[in-house]
Structure formats: C-alpha cells, structure tokens
Point group: C2
Chain length 223, copies 2
C-alpha cells in the first residue's frame, strides 16, 4: 500500500496523540454512550485535557503550554484528511436508522477537513460547519485510504482511531508514523493496541521518546 | 497470601528495575545461551547499563548518576532475599545433569543474600562468594515465597524474574509493589508481562511515573 506520496516524503499516513495505558490499552472495556472510550478510557487522555490546545478546541481559556501541548499541536499540523472507525464516529451500530447522529462533536467538529468514516453501511456525506465533511466509506479500509489521500491534497492522512481501525492499517503496513502518548495508568482490560501485531517485524522502530508533563510521548517510525 | 509482614508494612514483596518494551515484553523471543534475554532482550536494559550502580556492580568505573541511577540504587535497597525462575538462573532445562552450572554471574553473584530458585528438580544449596546462597525450591511458588520471607528477616523479598515468574506471583496477588522501567523499544515478540493478567482488577494502580534519562520509571502499588 506504499504510494508514491509516501516514498517522496511529501505526505504521510499518521497516527498522532494516540493515548495508551502502561498495559497497552487504547480504550477501556464496555464502550457505550456513557463511556465512549470504555470504562476509565477517558483517563487515558488526561495529559491532553490539560493542554492549551485542547482548552482552545473546546472553547475554554487557559491550559498548559509545555511538552504535552507541543505534541498536541504537532498532532494537528499538516493534516489534510482523517480516517475514523465507525465506533469512533458514534455509538450507532448496524444500518443507520436515519441521519440524526452527526458525531460526538456538535455542529462544528474539530477536524475542519474531510473525514472518512469506515462503515459497512452506506450513507450520504454529511457536511458540517467549519470545513468538516464526513464521508461514509463502505467498501473497505484500502479504498478509504485512497480517497483520504486524494482529499488530503499532498498533506498527511491522520488515522484517528479507534484501536481496531489503527490495528487494521498497521496490519497492512499502511502507516508511516505513530505518535503514542503513554499514560501512567493501568486499564487491565479493553482494546489492546499491540496484541498479536508484531510492529518490529513490520519495520517499526522507536524514533524517539520524550517525557511530557503527564504522558511519555513515543514516536514510532517505519523504516 | 498476605502475611502479617505485608499488613504491617515492615517488609514488601517487590519487583524492581524490571524493564519492559513499549509493547509490553520483558524478554525477547528465542532465549538461549547466546541470548539469555531472548533476541534483542538486552536492549531492554540499556538504561541500566549506563548507570554508575551497574558499572560498579560489574567492576567498571564511571557511569551516570541521574534518575535512572537513583532507581537502580533503590532497586537494591532493603532486599533481604530474592526469588528467581529457573530460566533466569540458567539455560539448563530438565533434571540437573550435575552441579557445574552455578548461574550467569561467576563466583561472586551480585545478590549477597539468599536467592530462591524455582525449579521442578531438587538440588543441594549452592553457597557462593559474597553472601549469596542459591536454594533450589521444587515444591512450588508459594512455599518459595514463605522461605524467602523467613530468610529476608524483615527486609523485602525481591522477585527478580523472569517474566513467567513475575506473572506467577502477580496472578496470586502476592506482590505489593512493581517498579517497571519502560524502555523506548519495540520487541514485537517475546514474553509479555501483561497479556491476560488484569492488574487493575488485582488492585494495582500507578503510584507515580518518573522520566529517567533512558527509560520511564513506573511504580505500581497494590491497594
């Protein structure tokens, strides 16, 4: 799935600011409307909630401007399109009953670029305020990536998550760079990012590891 | 397996300075005489090799005196007895052919206290220089812990490893504190510390996480 874009270094397929627990979970168990990230899953993102970037994105003032904030900023730079799994878009399962669910993020989602949602169930594109349009791709992960690359117009494609979606692209070696935020937390159960996927064999190495205020930022790069 | 000692806080059963990769492995794959920690397993301990503590222990001069060194020092404090798995003691499998294998560490091993080796095959105690005696315990992990506690005389029992031995004691909730050194490394394969063990459910929480020079030190404490 390497494309000329990747080889030239002009654009990347990236995972960024993806939080995992010490025991490797990217979401807690028993995800539902009350716990979209699973039980205790939101604690994974504690580092992000304190940043100025996050406060601004959510209409709050203040926030901290240290290492964690730098990585949060970087995660948003040069992103031309996103890919999300269906479960990250919302709690609706099976065929769409109607068009009422428009994501977790209100009228103006924080993407501001085309977002490709993987689903088995077709649905018309959904144009939101602020430049975000959700496209529902029902013919598979690779076609979704192809569309996202085209829509990104030379910028990066960010694989937003959740865990299952990232694992899907890691398995086919379609990701160039992964920024993990390792949070000081044990989840014990949930969706494990690494289980059964040998990232070393797939060519990933740790490029660097930087201590933030509330998480350790680990950059994986594919050779 | 809680004993009065644990409740009074006088002594602990500890894992300390135990290195794991980003993907949760405490040893690499294909352990043998050439690769006692499995392929690329020694890279897990890179942080330790640079410390003054390690240099001194191995008869070298120099070494660094930062955060990593502080944690290496702390890992050796107040240890009254050790427990090691058979594979950590040596590469010999099955019944002992003779008494020629005396561990990886030469005539004067770096323990200087009684060391209890879990094995299915009985063997006479082995007294080494410098205060280390290896006792071979063939009646199970719990009797070994009981003996180690008695031998430790109020000090801590350190579960040295490897992964299988630590997992054995984690499963029966016999460990009070775990100090992990999370190394910036992907192993991809090997012995995973966490797989199938829910440490949250077993009462462990992250007490603190401290950035060292070459690893992130994570202290797990059992509530």
């Amino acid at each position: 799935m390497r494309t000329p874009n990747t080889i030239s270094g002009m654009s990347k397929v990236r995972v960024a600011a993806f939080s995992i627990s010490i025991d490797g979970f990217g979401a807690g168990p028993r995800q539902d409307l009350q716990n979209p990230l699973g039980v205790r899953g939101t604690e994974l993102h504690n580092w992000l909630f304190h940043t100025e970037v996050f406060k601004k994105m959510t209409g709050q003032s203040g926030g901290e401007c240290g290492v964690d904030n730098d990585f949060a900023l970087k995660s948003l730079e040069n992103v031309g399109a996103w890919i999300l799994g269906r479960n990250m878009f919302g709690p609706v399962r099976g065929p769409w009953p109607d068009d009422s669910w428009k994501g977790w993020w209100g009228d103006e989602p924080p993407y501001h670029v085309p977002v490709f949602v993987l689903t088995h169930h077709a649905r018309a594109p959904l144009e939101m305020k602020g430049g975000t349009t959700f496209y529902f791709v029902s013919d598979g992960a690779e076609p979704a990536l192809k569309q996202a690359r085209e829509a990104a117009r030379g910028k990066d494609v960010r694989i937003g998550g959740g865990v299952a979606t990232i694992r899907q692209y890691l398995r086919v070696v379609a990701i160039d760079e992964v920024h993990l935020a390792a949070s000081p937390l044990l989840l014990g159960q949930g969706e494990n990012l690494f289980a059964g996927i040998d990232l070393h064999e797939r060519g990933f190495v740790v490029e660097r590891s930087v201590a933030g205020e509330r998480a350790t930022h680990v950059i994986l790069h594919r050779r």
